[in-house]
Amino acid sequence: MIFKFANPLKFQKLTDSIQPFVSYLALILLILGLFFGFFMSPPDYLQGETVRIMYVHVPCAWFSLMIYSVIALCAVFAIVFKHTLAYIISRACAPIGACFTIATLLTGSIWGKPTWGTWWVWDARLTSELILLFIYIGLMIIHNSYDDKSKSDRYASILALIGVVNLPIIKWSVDWWNTLHQPASISKFSSPSIDSSMMVPLFIMTFSIFCFFISILLIRIKGEIIQRKIDVLRLNQLK
């Protein structure tokens, strides 16, 4: 795999060809998902129509975690092999992950309003999502706080390493804290054991948001590569 992206030119051509295809696929799947979500699937007997928020909320939650694992994977890859592509990917992923976490938090609180009557509930998942947002903010701060790009990359990958090890501990301790703080709030919201008619739109929406994430990632990676080319040219002009 590594040798396929052996040099930036080949990688650039590859991504340029894939990028429009993926974003159109995302649009098509989105329309399909919406159709299935609103037309084909029945409302939930307990929650009524608000269960349709799940088709958006659950994929965003999955992606906020998946993107952090992508960043962590690139961080490990970067520290071991010192490959600039890994630094570029982890730098490009951080803002997208933060946006997904913000989306999850907002939709989660909107979903909580009808079921619990308040906008914000210290539910285990929402709290750990909030902490994940702080980790993303920390990552983004480290990414942009150094003038020398290579130094900020290395420090950000080290921070990602700490985050990866601590994330399960945080999730587990928040779950434990939540059961202590508030008896297990049994609600459809916790683990939706849903029948097939709701599963289909969920997967279609997940796949469409995945394609959307890939296309944004490719755009940001291209921008990152060009940014570094400009830095090198500026450096040469300085000499």
Binding site: E49, I53, C99, A103, T107, P114, I226, I230, L233
Partner: protein
């Protein structure tokens, strides 16, 4: 089709669902637009830089 009609006139829930979809697509659209604008700006800058680099 019946599901959609029940959904439309489901009163309070309709506004919650619609606003959450609106928020998610707004955020995704925002990040898509900002990153593509940033990339285009960088491309122009790089083109101009490499042009006068070649001129020198």
């Amino acid at each position: 089709m019946k599901n959609f009609l029940d959904f439309v006139n489901s009163g309070e829930h309709f506004s919650y669902v619609l606003s959450s979809y609106f928020i998610v697509f707004l955020i995704l659209f925002l990040i898509f637009i900002t990153s593509s604008i940033k990339t285009k700006k960088l491309e122009k800058e790089f083109a101009s830089l490499s042009k006068n680099e070649a001129k020198k």
